[in-house]
């Protein structure tokens, strides 16, 4: 078996909101139930789980850590427990299934009951002696990267605002989005929002919200008997440069992070960027969206915003991007957020997205993390 013999057969996305009266574990379980039901399976059909697991001696890794096999009553043959999220979890599961270690894997995660009072999730602001006392935080690391890019390419500021406006306007039309009906947005709306950390305005940045997301992965062969048209894993790639949000991040090292992974993923799939029908890139901020168009091979360095403007990244553009409203308007649920990208890609390929459906979508890209995080990964998904 190879990657393309593996398919995503179930997706589950819970209600997404600024705050939920739930815990991270509860929303992760809610999403798991939705994904398994969506696949037309039961928990008894699973033999692999990628979710947060307790460590030796029952050590709890928050958020959402649990004895998933015990909770679901399903002894499993494979677990993915290091940092189970989005693309890495999907590719790890696909590799395990391809190798014959297991056949059907649940991937689930999310966050709830952890935000509030202006707090950010703790993992974005490590309690670290060389980070915390200087007032650094997730968006600030990305800002230190963006500032150097902006010095080379000053026009990116306006272009990034246009990108944010497009994605937020898409989200405003999605009734399931946290920021439903808040738009439409223009570039000026973005630029007029309050400053957070230069060069980012508030509306350049993603949400911090709550909810769960899950997918179910199995072989294409098994997928044929299930409810939905299988969505194949066509190719994927991952890159890690350093740990996130601790070391001073270097623009020259990270601006093109993902380029190598993308080249490998497209090579594996036998595709080129022009084959992609919709791009669920990881929109933690507007500059990152432009950066990914460059790293993924849609255009050259410095041209990301020009590419977005000329190709069109709205639902009627050549490359509809973040078609659910993305992390900026749909939801960002911490380490569960990367799975949202896959869920939206799968729904687009199934053709079940309703008003936001990209007509005839056959190839979708989903990605996770970015320059300031110092790691990046992507997967290409497709239908026959």
């Amino acid at each position: 078996m190879s990657l393309s013999d593996i398919a995503v057969v179930g997706v589950g996305v819970t209600q997404q909101a600024r705050r939920l009266e739930r815990t991270s574990l509860q929303v992760s379980l809610d999403a798991a139930k939705l994904a398994v039901a969506d696949a037309g399976l039961t928990f008894a059909d699973l033999d692999g789980i990628a979710a947060r697991w307790p460590g030796p001696g029952g050590t709890v890794f928050l958020p959402g850590s649990a004895d998933w096999a015990g909770m679901l009553g399903v002894p499993v043959r494979w677990i993915g427990d290091s940092y189970p999220q989005g693309v890495p979890a999907l590719l790890d599961a696909a590799a395990a299934i391809s190798a014959g270690l297991c056949h059907t894997v649940l991937i689930t995660g999310g966050q709830a009951g952890v935000l509030g009072g202006g707090r950010v999730a703790s993992y974005t602001q490590p309690r670290n002696e060389f980070v915390e006392p200087f007032g650094a935080f997730t968006a600030a690391h990305f800002a230190l990267v963006a500032q150097r890019h902006l010095r080379r390419f000053p026009h990116v500021r306006q272009g990034a605002a246009e990108i944010a406006a497009t994605i937020r306007t898409i989200g405003s039309a999605n009734p399931d989005a946290v920021l439903y009906d808040r738009g439409p947005f223009t570039a000026q709306t973005i630029l007029d929002s309050s400053g957070v950390v230069d060069p980012f305005r508030l509306l350049d940045l993603c949400l911090a919200s709550e909810g769960g997301a899950a997918i179910v992965v199995t072989t294409v062969e098994r997928a044929r008997d299930l409810r939905h048209r299988p969505v194949r894993v066509l190719g994927g790639g991952m890159e890690w440069i350093r740990q996130q949000y601790v070391d001073a991040v270097r623009y020259e090292q990270v601006w093109s992070i993902g380029a190598d992974a993308a080249a490998r993923a497209f090579g594996m799939a036998g595709l080129t960027p022009s084959d992609v029908d919709c791009a669920q890139v990881y929109d933690v901020n507007s500059f990152e969206v432009a950066r990914q168009f460059e790293a993924l091979g849609f255009c050259d360095v410095g041209e990301g915003t020009d590419f977005a403007a000329s190709a069109g990244i709205g639902l009627d553009g050549k490359l509809p991007t973040c078609t659910d409203g993305g992390l900026m308007s749909f939801s960002h649920i911490g380490w569960g957020a990367p799975t949202l990208k896959i869920a939206e890609a799968v729904r687009q390929l199934r053709g079940t997205c309703g008003d936001r459906q990209v007509p005839g979508a056959r190839v979708a890209l989903a990605a996770g993390a970015g320059s300031g995080a110092q790691y990046y990964n992507l997967v290409l998904l497709g239908t026959d």
Binding site: V120, Q125, E129, P133, G135, L144, Q147, S194, V246, A248
Partner: protein
């Protein structure tokens, strides 16, 4: 010494990496001396401290004194702080130490809108019971 606001978060020695790696850094900082790990095997400087040199992976390094002169590699003014202890705006920066091959995350003081490429020198600010390195524009007098 540049005074910071009194409710500053405190840097906790040992909260990064292995225990015992950083106490010497903070002890030197308390004396207003900036130090960084230098590999005894390959001579490279690096930061933050790790158990092994990231250039040659030798587990043999020592803290050496920095001249404290640097250049702003990147800088971003923070307008909305991650927690209320920080008085905004403040310039967060990465400063590269001139000729020493290392840099660190820090803050810039005595300059409202520092720019990439500005020449700076180390200064010290009190934060709780700890002394933190910050950088200020090089005085031209």
């Amino acid at each position: 010494m540049t005074r910071w606001h009194p409710a500053d978060p405190v840097a906790v020695p040992g909260s990064y990496g292995e225990p015992g790696l950083t106490e010497e850094f903070w002890a030197a900082a308390a004396e207003h001396v900036l130090v960084r790990p230098v590999c005894r095997a390959c001579g490279s400087s690096f930061f933050p401290p790790l158990i092994a040199c990231p250039h040659c992976v030798a587990q043999d390094w020592e803290y050496r004194r920095s001249a404290g002169r640097g250049t702003i590699y990147s800088c971003a003014v923070v307008h909305k702080a991650p927690s209320p202890e920080f008085e905004t705006p403040y310039p967060l920066a990465i400063v590269d130490l001139d000729g020493e091959g290392w840099g660190l995350l820090t803050t810039i003081v005595d300059a409202p809108s520092p720019r990439i490429g500005d020449q700076v020198e180390v200064t010290w600010r009190e934060a709780g019971d700890r002394v933190l390195p910050a950088f200020r524009p090089v005085s031209t007098r």
